[in-house]
Amino acid sequence: MATADRVIDARGSFCPGPLMEMIRAIKTAEVGQVVEVLTSDSGSRTDIPKWAEKAGQELVEVVNGDDGDAILVRKVK
């Protein structure tokens, strides 16, 4: 698994939701940095990759775990 520069534990959250945590973190991250969001919200598995694609950011990895997923996105611009 790739290593992240910043890890956000958003497990158990419904609102504002792990995707918003990711967007917020990417907005403040440096270009080249990787943000990892831990999430138990099944919607994140599709939403975060979809956002990364629309925003032109790089989806690094989605790791499925027992108590949630880890989703890693690199800020490329």
């Binding site: 959250s13 504002p16 918003m20 907005k27 599709t46 925003a55």
Partner: protein, 381 residues
Amino acid sequence: MPKRLLVVGSGTAGLMVANLVARALEGKLQHHEVEITVLGERDDYIYQPGFLYVAFDLMDPRSLVRPVRDLLHPRVHFVHDRAQRVDAESRTVSTEGGVSLPYDYLVIATGSRIRPEEVPGLAEDAHWFYTLDGAVKLREALQDLRGGRIAVSVGIPHKCPVAPVEFTLMLDAWARTRGLRDALEITYTYPVARAHTIPAVAAFAEAEFERREIKVETFFNMESVDTGTHVLHSQEGTDVAYDLLVTVPPHRGDAFGGASGLAGAGDWYPTDRQFLRVQGHDNIFAVGDTTDLPVSKAGSVAHFESEVVADNLVGLLSEGRRPGHTYAGRAFCFIETGLEEATYISFDFQHPPVVPTPSRSIHFFKQTYNQIHWASLKAVI
């Protein structure tokens, strides 16, 4: 020496915590065993949910403002000044006015504020209903409106998760009653994949928007505004042209937390989700909008969190009892869906909300709450 509780912020959470503890410990306050001080940069309290109604000329702005002193328990001290820095070592908070206030327990309830300046051009060209002045200005703009393209654009993070949906649905209903709706094109933009972060609210809003011919742009995070051509650009590369731009700007915590080295990114306080203590400090609590918790920034959350923190403070102040009451992520929001109907959501960390069918009676409850709120702040109900 009395035990000292200092509360920074005289908004919803600050007043509730101070009043709840004061009511529970009246005897100790009277005998100077406990002392409670609220430090607030404003000496009036403003009921923010009223801004939505001010924008549509449905409430008098003056009815939303009351002196802090009238809302505080008589035995709670009020210091009208701005907190500048916390020194956790010496357990003091210094103020802009040059005063140093000591504490045994500190509650930080400094809320969240809009930061339109984070999006270049936004402050110059957009309206908002997230401050009292802004709501009054927007009211004037709406009174002058004869038609055109209105964009309602939402930034993250922001307080009151449902207010943008409410504003948009109320705008539609308001325009219909004025015979203006056919002359308007309304576009709602939202930062995530759906029209709202909460799936049930998103499904509800998307169906309503479609039925009312309101356009939706998702994955739209405001990046800049071209004030010459009146075009809003997103981080994702999409544009929306407008004649009237109404925004919910992204928010931040108060800068005082960062200056004290206690708050993190966005000036939000890293807060433990059970006891609401600021990370690394057993005697400092964060309540309301200013936490970094994955919960809505809403008055109801401030209320439920205040109850938990106040109960724990009562134990700590009276007998040094370890905090036992925990916060479960409880939140409740009314959703106005027009000028005469409303619905609501109720949820916590473990239970996502559902959206009941809107009704006139729920709208009536919300109108009633707008009055009850004052008693709730005083902790008399």
